[in-house]
Symmetry: C2
C-alpha cells in the first residue's frame, strides 16, 4: 500500500528560509516523521520563494515587444516582460494564452510565472533557476537532519496537449530514477514489453497533488510512503523534457 | 491521508467475466473491502478482455493501406489494420511510431491497441468500445454488490507531447467530476485563482499506476481511499479530450 501524507501547518516561506528543515519539522510536528525511502514532493512555489525567485511587477519596465504581446494576449505588459525574460522560445500566443519554452526547457503557460500563493497584488513567483539543483539541496538537507535516505520532487501544475485540464508534473527531482524503463521486462503471460518507459516522477507529482490541491489551508508539500523507487544520484527531472525535434506527439 | 491499495490475486479475466464482482471479491479476500467514497481504478486491459475486445491477428487480412503504413513504420500489417479500424485519424507516422486519434477521441500510440498482458502470441486487446459506459457499468455493479457509493476510473498508459515517458490517464470514468474547476477559489493570500482546472481523474489514474505498474504479479486494479471527490452522475472521461482546434499546446 502507498500512503500520501499531506504536510500541514508549514509557515509562510520567505526568502532565505531552509525548506528542508521546514519539511522535517512539519513532518515531526504532525507525528509522521520522515522515514527511509520516503519521497517528499514540494510545490515549486515555496522553493521559489525561499530562493528569492519573486518579482514585483511595479519594478518592471516592459520592452516594446512585451507591450505588443501584452496587447495581443490581453495580459499585463509587465508580466509579459517577466515571462519573456524567463523563456527561450514562444511556442504559442492567443488571446489569454502565452505558452513558452522556459529557459530550463519546460513547455508551459507563462514560463511558469505564477501569481497565486504569493503575497502582494503585484508580486509574482518565477520557477527556481535550476529545479533539479534545488531538489538536490533540499534532499541533502533532509537527509542531514534526519539520517534517512529520501527522494525529493519539485512539482508544478502544467496544461498539456490533447487533453483538458492541468496535472502536476516534476520540474525538479533528486534521489530517484525519474523514468522507470520497463523495456525487456515480461508481462503476465511472458511477453517481453517493447516500449514501456513510465514517467514515475510525473506520476508521483500528480499523486501528491491529490493532497496538495485539496487544501484551502495551503498544503505545500506531501510525503509519499511505500512506493519502491530506484535510487539514483544522477537522474534529474530534465530527463523528462522531450526535445522538440523528437516530439512525435506534436 | 490518501491510501492507494493494490488489488492482488485477481484471476485472469476472460470474456463475459463480471469485472465489478471480481473487484469486490478481491478487495474482500485481502481484507480491504470496498468502502463508501472509494475510487476504484481499473486498467482497461481487463475491461477489454471481459468485453471481448480482443482480436487474433491470425484472422486479420490487412488492406493495401495497412500494408503500406506497415512497411513505413516497420509494424505488423495485421496490427496496423486493427489500429486503423480503431482510429478516426492518423496524427503521426514514423519508423516505429503510429500515433492516431481513436474513434473515442483519444490521441495515443496504435489507437491503444495493446499486445501486453493478453495471452497468445498473436492476440491483441483493443480499447473498450465506450470506456465511460464500461466504467458506469462496473460502478453500478460494485455499488449493487456492496451497498457503498464509489467512483470508477478506467486507465490506460499514454505517451504525451513535450515530455518523455508515459503516464496513466483516465479513458473512462463514472461517479465523479473528472475536472476540478478551481476558478473563483481563493489562494492562501486571498487572490482569486484565474485558470486552475485540475484534471483530477488523470491524476488519480497516475496515482493508481504507482501500485499497478509496480507489479510483476499483474495487479490490474487499485482502490484510492481518502480522497474527497465531487460525486457526479453525468461527468465522464471524454470531457478530458481536448478538441484539436482548441489545442494550444500543439
Amino acid at each position: 500500500m502507498i500512503r500520501i501524507i499531506p504536510l500541514r501547518g508549514m509557515p509562510i516561506v520567505e526568502e532565505g528560509d531552509d525548506v528542508g528543515r521546514l519539511i522535517v519539522e512539519a513532518a515531526e510536528r504532525q507525528e509522521t516523521p520522515i522515514e527511509d525511502d520516503d519521497i517528499v514532493v514540494v510545490t515549486h512555489i515555496i522553493v521559489s520563494r525561499a530562493e528569492g525567485r519573486v518579482v514585483d511587477l511595479e519594478a518592471v519596465k516592459p520592452s516594446e515587444a512585451a507591450v505588443r504581446i501584452a496587447a495581443y494576449t490581453g495580459k499585463d505588459p509587465r508580466l509579459v516582460e517577466v515571462v519573456l525574460s524567463e523563456s527561450r522560445a514562444i511556442r504559442r500566443m492567443a488571446p489569454g494564452v502565452l505558452i513558452t519554452e522556459t529557459r530550463q526547457g519546460f513547455v508551459c503557460a507563462n514560463s511558469g510565472v505564477d501569481k497565486s500563493n504569493v503575497p502582494g497584488e503585484t508580486i509574482v513567483a518565477l520557477l527556481p533557476e535550476d529545479p533539479d539543483e534545488s531538489a538536490r539541496r533540499i534532499r541533502k538537507r533532509i537527509e542531514e537532519l534526519t539520517g534517512k535516505r529520501v527522494a525529493v520532487i519539485i512539482s508544478d501544475t502544467h496544461g498539456r496537449a490533447h487533453r483538458e485540464g492541468e496535472i502536476n508534473v516534476a520540474i525538479g527531482a533528486s534521489g530517484l530514477e525519474v523514468i522507470r524503463d520497463r523495456r525487456g521486462e515480461r508481462d503476465l503471460f511472458g511477453y517481453v514489453l517493447q516500449v514501456k518507459r513510465t514517467a514515475i516522477a510525473d506520476e508521483l507529482a500528480s499523486a501528491a497533488e491529490l493532497v496538495i490541491g485539496q487544501a484551502d489551508e495551503g498544503i505545500p508539500a506531501a510525503i509519499i510512503r511505500g512506493y519502491t523507487y530506484k535510487p539514483s544520484e544522477t537522474s534529474r527531472a530534465l530527463e523528462l523534457v522531450r526535445p522538440r525535434e523528437r516530439d512525435l506527439f506534436l
